[in-house]
């Protein structure tokens, strides 16, 4: 009987650990979908990063995406409120020049939405990391404004 309890507990443990992980991806994107408004969804990236360890570099993740001249892109992210990290987006062009970041350093303030009317077509790099290297979960979204 005792064995059954242990087995059941393990099943629940696995089931719930899976649920907490999955909340970081699809459900968060579905919530974030509402922010697209009158733009057309193009791409999303789930971001899940650990807390920065002492002496280690800041955990971050990058993705490349082509942006086309003449199009306006709506770029934003949504954070999972259960974790402390607030995501910062930075966008670089193909020459690695920083175009924009979603964090205003002087005011320690996050920008909720970036509108980017592109004049220089190319493959841009979208990097995501969390403020102060906190552990975090977020989803980054790129849509095309109509």
């Amino acid at each position: 009987m005792k064995k059954h309890y242990i087995l059941l507990s393990l099943i629940f443990l696995f089931a719930f650990s899976g649920m907490s992980f999955s909340q970081c991806g699809e459900p968060l994107l579905n919530i974030c979908h509402g922010k697209i408004e009158n733009a057309r969804f193009l791409r999303s990236w789930p971001i899940q990063l650990p807390k920065q360890a002492r002496g280690e570099t800041l955990p971050q993740v990058s993705f490349k995406m082509p942006l086309t001249s003449g199009n306006t892109y709506k770029i934003f992210a949504c954070n999972d409120g259960d974790l402390p990290g607030k995501v910062i987006i930075s966008i670089r062009n193909q020459n690695d020049d920083l175009v924009v970041t979603s964090f205003v350093i002087e005011q320690a303030r996050h920008i909720p939405v970036i509108m980017f009317p592109v004049a220089m077509s190319g493959i841009y790099t979208f990097s995501f990391y969390f403020e102060n290297g906190e552990e975090g979960c977020a989803v980054g979204v790129v849509a095309i404004a109509e």
């Binding site: 699809e26 193009l42 999303s44 990236w45 490349k64 082509p66 920008i111 939405v113 220089m120």
Partner: protein
């Protein structure tokens, strides 16, 4: 006594599941071994690199939206006929054509041909099932939403996120080769449609420039395919795309970078892009690209 009744019940359930599984999968098993193509000791791309690079392949929503914006008329003749699905017997063909049919589906949706999408949706579902990745599409919802053109954005959202999740899953499961083939199929089909649509000369120039910009995308795609170039089937695809790259060498793209300026309005940061890019592409180069991509696509769709 209890054990005696439980065992036959379990056996009956297992048998039932096996039989129903067999009935659902009436399509022919793949004749290649693409799933097992990762061999010990061989050099393959790192998962993080594939994840970073694969999104550099243009999204079909963008190309179709661009064509619609440029006043291009919808043409069903440009799509891969839905009936071709029966000829795709290898995982290589199935992965490429999942990208092709996915692009067709997006193209049809952007042009409000929602009712005609059902067969293409079914093909996407079937090819995804053949590749054991059907769990990423909510077909029932897509079918229901496809009944009205008012739901286009939701359909595109579900389709796009389905393809994105599928790609991530494949990469994490060490099946990057399949993910790369799907993206390659998507890219080839988008470029084929863009090079073969009918439009007025003024709009043609705009579309041609967008085609020229695919030079950079092709470079990234070839970097991804390079790791698999020695594998059966991948070799002809890689070589054909290398030939296409040679044609793209005639496209000249210049960039002038100037620091952007920012303007904040109601919590929205607007980037004023002071940089610019210029694409120089001749009609002759466009024709060569169109012919070559048509040739590659014919090999892809069969």
């Amino acid at each position: 006594m209890k054990k005696k009744t439980t065992l036959p019940l379990i056996l009956a359930l297992v048998a039932g599941l096996i039989i129903s599984g067999c009935q659902q999968n009436k399509r022919q098993e793949a004749t290649d071994l693409l799933y097992d193509s990762k061999k010990e000791g061989e050099l393959f791309l790192h998962m993080d690199m594939v994840k970073e690079m694969i999104s550099s392949v243009s999204n079909p929503v963008e190309m179709s939206s661009l064509l619609q914006k440029a006043g291009v008329i919808y043409s069903q003749d440009l799509l891969n006929p839905a009936g071709n699905i029966d000829d795709y017997n290898t995982n290589f063909q199935r992965a490429l054509n999942l990208g092709v049919y996915g692009t067709n589906l997006v193209y049809m949706n952007i042009y409000d041909r929602t009712l005609s999408t059902l067969r293409y949706l079914s093909n996407v579902r079937q090819l995804a099932a053949d590749l054991r990745i059907e769990q990423f599409f909510d077909y029932e919802t897509l079918n229901r939403l496809s009944e009205s053109s008012r739901n286009i954005d939701s359909v595109l959202f579900i389709t796009n996120t389905g393809f994105d999740n599928m790609s991530r899953y494949l990469i994490e499961q060490d099946r990057s080769n399949i993910a790369i083939l799907i993206s390659t199929g998507t890219w080839i089909e988008s470029l084929y449609i863009a090079t073969h649509v009918q439009t007025i000369p003024g709009n043609r120039d705009y579309i041609n420039m967008r085609i020229g910009e695919q030079k950079k995308v092709l470079d990234n795609l070839l970097l991804l395919l390079y790791a698999y170039r020695e594998e059966p089937d991948f070799n002809w695809l890689f070589e054909d795309l290398m030939d296409l790259k040679k044609i793209f060498e005639d496209v000249k793209i210049s960039y002038v970078y100037a620091e952007p300026t920012m303007q904040e309005l109601n919590g929205v940061l607007i980037v004023i892009d002071n940089s610019m890019s210029e694409v120089i592409i001749s009609d002759n180069t466009i024709e060569k690209i169109a012919n070559k991509v048509a040739e590659i696509r014919t090999r892809v769709i069969g």
